[in-house]
Symmetry: C2
Amino acid sequence: MRAPEYFAVDMLFDLEEERVSLFIRDHSGEKVAIQTPPGLKHYWEEICDLCRRHGVMPVFFESNFGACDLADRRARLAGCSALIHYGHSDMGLRSEIPVLYVEARAKGIDVSGLERLLDIPEGARVGIFSTVQYIDYLQELSAIVRKLGGIPLIGRHGWRTRYDGQVLGCDLRSAISIASDCDFLVYLGTGRFHPLGVAAAVNREVLCLNPHVPSVKRIRPGEFLKRRMARIAESADAARWCVVTSIKLGQFRLGLAERICEYIRSHGRKAVLVVADVITPEMLEDFDPDAAVSVACPRIPIDDQDRFSFPVLTPPELRLVFEKEGAYVFDEVQPEDFKFSELN
Amino acid sequence: MRAPEYFAVDMLFDLEEERVSLFIRDHSGEKVAIQTPPGLKHYWEEICDLCRRHGVMPVFFESNFGACDLADRRARLAGCSALIHYGHSDMGLRSEIPVLYVEARAKGIDVSGLERLLDIPEGARVGIFSTVQYIDYLQELSAIVRKLGGIPLIGRHGWRTRYDGQVLGCDLRSAISIASDCDFLVYLGTGRFHPLGVAAAVNREVLCLNPHVPSVKRIRPGEFLKRRMARIAESADAARWCVVTSIKLGQFRLGLAERICEYIRSHGRKAVLVVADVITPEMLEDFDPDAAVSVACPRIPIDDQDRFSFPVLTPPELRLVFEKEGAYVFDEVQPEDFKFSELN
């Protein structure tokens, strides 16, 4: 793939200029909506130039936490006839206007350096997974595993992921589904959140390969689970609960939030149902809760807990507050989470 | 009016329990949406109890910056058939569902103590204005002015305010319209933002009476205008501009934002149009601008400037960047701000 003309040629991710141009030509009226991850917003001049070359006005939407955070409704309100969403794969949400997903896959990476970092016994089964940015390199990683004498396994994608071996913070199926068949679990990519989710979900160590450096790190679930169990224990006597969800299209698990309110009340506690956009400590603090359950992105309680002055649990963590036993379950978003409850 | 049963009897503001009850009975299906100012969110248990007594489930919406920040669209998405909006008067926005505005007017205040704080020459014309919270007390303040020998003047309300003498951050008409006929301008209420807006808009001193304490303070526009002119001067050479608006129903001045983008480009600078919900420094910093124009609530550039690492101007302030002369104009929201521009 050639470097996009409208970005610096050293750009690490493929922004698919030709596909973007065709989409603008085919789908856009006067205005086209743009969502980009933070790192790409800096290049707005180049995106504006591209749009204006096609006689279209770009309107940027600030937030882009995932394909769940689709600005389609807002884009339509702003008179945009189409949306270009950078950085994530289509998770199958029904949009109000046509959407082009530009997955921004990593390019030009030499993964051969990872070979010397892996120590795999002959015949070992190695489950590999990644985020969409590095999904193109899973086949090369498979070849390395095979060359080292191992047997690579790639799990089938889940309901929100698009590619086999791909994981999202809210859909870890492709890794979880093969874990019991594997001797090793290997994550290809950057960041801690995704491999930590898998490690916690299956209570196993995950090897993390960063293809850029290249480097290998081990992520074990022990410390994480200890911290989360401490939060769960802290919530045991909480009398006032906030149950908060986000209006973001793919995070609006209102049905589950309503059922959780009833569940908390059935245990003799108070619960208030709150709908936010971005969930911040400041906003929830106004409600002065003893504890909260976040029924939006699974990442919020995990990554942002230290910003909150009270425990913020995931839906499956809440169950451990009242039922006292059972294994730790990582929060994954399910289709039935979105269904409204009947009012009793 | 009697104290609402469902709140502490020392509540300083009238929450109109009976009107709320009737509204819920008449308009609400299974779920009713609630918006409250931050100070009232703490009382969610009482609001929940009231709703549940009528067999209705309350859904709280986090944000409530004004009647411009109406959660009607979100409420409808959450299956709510009606919305109770606390703390602001109806500014005439068309809502997708029925809305009850509970203005939360101050109650039980003894304003007689303000008399000794005012020093008014015989026959002086005194223009008085307030926010909706204290609007009930403007007549008592008029009587005090008359008793002291002055002539009270109350201006007619503007297009977004509902009561004569009422001001909003985005509609100062009731004060501005009478300023040239007055020897004194007197604000009844708390906070600096509203009287500062009037002082800056008419370049005059405003006396601020806080009825709770009671106390009097003088607000002069000089220091404020100096600070704003410094920001305007800082923007003179800015090459990369963010023009940001908010999707909040009454703040979504997209037409004006589009015209401002074109205006900036017509002066040979770059401009990107950004749509946000809550406008934060973090979000705009991703675009790495040299300066920004906020085309949402007029309060953002005025109150939040120090949080931003670059100048954030109001639309009328921007004009002074390129045209170099003309009086300072305070940003007031106008009906034509909302009309989309034609793409040139």
